[in-house]
Amino acid sequence: MLTSPEALIAMAGMVLVTMAVKVSGLLLANRLPQTGFIAAWMRHIPGAVLASLVAPAIVTGSPAEVVAALATALMFFVTRNLFAAMATGVVAVFLVRQALQL
């Protein structure tokens, strides 16, 4: 079976709502003022969203993610290299999780 009309409708709906949200964000931002409070608010969104993505993934209740986050930060400050920081984080979280299982 290739697909069904129901599945096609569901997927078309998924595509439409996703694109609607993405395009509205850009268009709404275009209409907002470029100075003042709103502009200051917009300026702080990238950092706040990144912090929101990262924080719950670090504070999980297990020390593995905390240790790995510290290792990632240390490596980034030393090398300023994104890939080195990522690789350090992955290796660190892997090692600490293994150690915790022993």
Binding site: A7, G13, M14, T18, G25, L26, A48, A51, S52, V54
Partner: protein, 243 residues
């Protein structure tokens, strides 16, 4: 950060730079893609449906949620709930695409809006990291999105074809690749004490929201709350300076 200069025009060099910059993080996207493909087979999606959904919807977390609702028999497919869940999970993109505004050149609004189709958390984060250094462009975003799209498509198809016994990415720490990359990007964006309040507020709100509310609401709550806190702090400092 103030990009008073007009953003760079579309260029192949920018597209390639974005495509290359996103390869490391695309590897962990692929790890999750394989897992999604395996789950998609269990949920009863055909190979064709996997390709359609990955290729057109192109939104990892929404696709995972859709699988939880999917049924193998078309007659019982909860179409409305699937679309509604997709909308809710993807609402965070409002914030992400809004931050791309400084990159839109006058006269390219339509093309830029279409390019948002290729925006995912990962290439957004890489582009925002570039913007913090006064670089970045819609072409960079699209290049990164193309890399992520190819990895996501290939991985979900492989997962669907292999269909079993794929290891959990957390076993190898691959889940942490996103977190580590986003953390390093965030640290690279540090510009001074003014960032402390919004970041801390965002982190605390997100941690609390992630614990209390299921789904991806924590990104919106932390993102809006944290950025508002930053703007209020800035506004109060400005008032204090004037008086």
């Amino acid at each position: 950060m103030e990009q008073s200069l007009s953003p760079p025009p579309w260029s192949a060099a920018q597209f390639q730079a974005g495509a290359r910059a996103c390869i490391p993080v695309a590897i962990s996207v692929a790890a999750y893609g394989v897992v999604w493909g395996v789950l998609a087979k269990q949920a009863g999606l055909s190979l064709f449906e996997v390709m359609l959904m990955s290729g057109l919807v192109f939104a990892g977390s929404a696709q995972f949620v859709a699988l939880e609702l999917w049924t193998a028999t078309p007659a019982t497919l909860p179409i409305g709930p699937i679309i509604l869940a997709t909308l809710i999970v993807n609402l965070r993109y409002l914030l992400l695409t809004a931050t791309m505004r400084p990159l839109v050149r006058p006269g390219t609004e339509k093309r830029s809006a279409l390019a948002m189709w290729l925006l995912s958390d990962e290439n957004w984060a890489m582009t925002v990291g570039e913007m913090a250094r006064g670089r970045g462009s819609i072409a960079f975003l699209a290049g990164g999105g193309t890399t992520i799209w190819c990895f996501w498509m290939a991985a979900t198809v492989i997962g669907r074809l292999v269909g079993s016994a794929i290891d959990d990415p957390t076993r190898y720490g691959l889940d942490f690749a996103f977190t580590a990359t986003f953390l390093a990007l965030l640290l690279g964006m540090w510009k001074g004490k003014a960032d402390l309040i919004p970041w801390l507020a965002a982190a605390l709100l997100a941690i609390a929201a992630a614990k209390l509310i299921p789904g991806s609401w924590y990104i919106l709550i932390g993102g809006i709350g944290g950025s508002l806190a930053g703007a209020i702090a800035e506004w109060r400092r400005g008032n204090a300076d004037q008086s």
